[in-house]
Subunit: 111 residues, 3 copies
């Protein structure tokens, strides 16, 4: 946590920027880089662009809420790294998990 | 936005109906067809049907809330287009994004 | 419903435990096993582990809320089955769907 899930970004491109991205995000969140996970979902575009060729990058961030200021810095940082890859339309949505709905190794984060 | 994400529908089938679907949805939402994106997630079914053979279609719609009436017309339209492909069990869930948690090109939709 | 979506677990491994998992979950939820669906998303890990080699399993459960006690038993059961496969870090998040945002075959669960 936080978990970043990408659609519309090629994994082999994205992987070139994830280390520096994680370092910046860890700085913003004041946590270790080992807290982050990032994955690319495999998906086929079926509207709004060519088949299989995404028209835009969509990034979902799952985390425990850290306030609007941290969130906006987080979004700006993710956006900048993805834009570097030549992607021109980038949307990011944050999902705030409830601590009482989140379990690590079978134990609730907050019981 | 809105973003439609499909599981359990073959991309090559779905793509045959997405243009007419987008046109109808744009009419319902009173917006342009270029607002919509649609993608099929790649997934392997591991319960509730044969492996790799989905027993049902699951569609997630991410959008900013437009009220119950628009939502129900939206769902009926998506359902009708997917049912045309011969799929018999279709579930649709709407995720209302919060404007203060949504960023386009690094800028919050609502700051 | 409930729908379980897995990332970071190989489908061919997971499928060896899904029948017993479904049976236990049905018992906890006091419903039939045919209510459950389980799918593995295809994704490529791009941070926090080797590329393509997930460092942890992430499971999302979409359902209508059933209370904290049922939820915790549900999480413990899912965790135990996934841990059996040799996976050491497992995170589970529950998404409570709103009945007025959920449609089955085009009809709202609650209108």
């Amino acid at each position: 946590m936080p978990h970043l899930v990408f659609r519309g970004v090629a994994a082999d491109q994205l992987i070139t920027v994830t280390s520096t991205l994680a370092a910046e995000l860890a700085d913003i969140c004041e946590c270790g880089t080992d807290n982050f996970t990032m994955a690319c979902l495999h998906a086929t575009n079926v509207y709004g662009g060519m088949p299989g060729e995404p028209s835009f990058a969509f990034i979902e961030v799952g985390w425990f809420e850290r306030g609007q200021l941290v969130q906006s810095r987080f979004a700006e940082t993710v956006n900048r790294h993805v834009a570097q890859l030549g992607i021109q339309e980038i949307e990011i949505v944050f999902h705030a998990y409830r601590e009482d709905s989140y379990y690590i190794n079978g134990k609730p984060v907050k019981g």
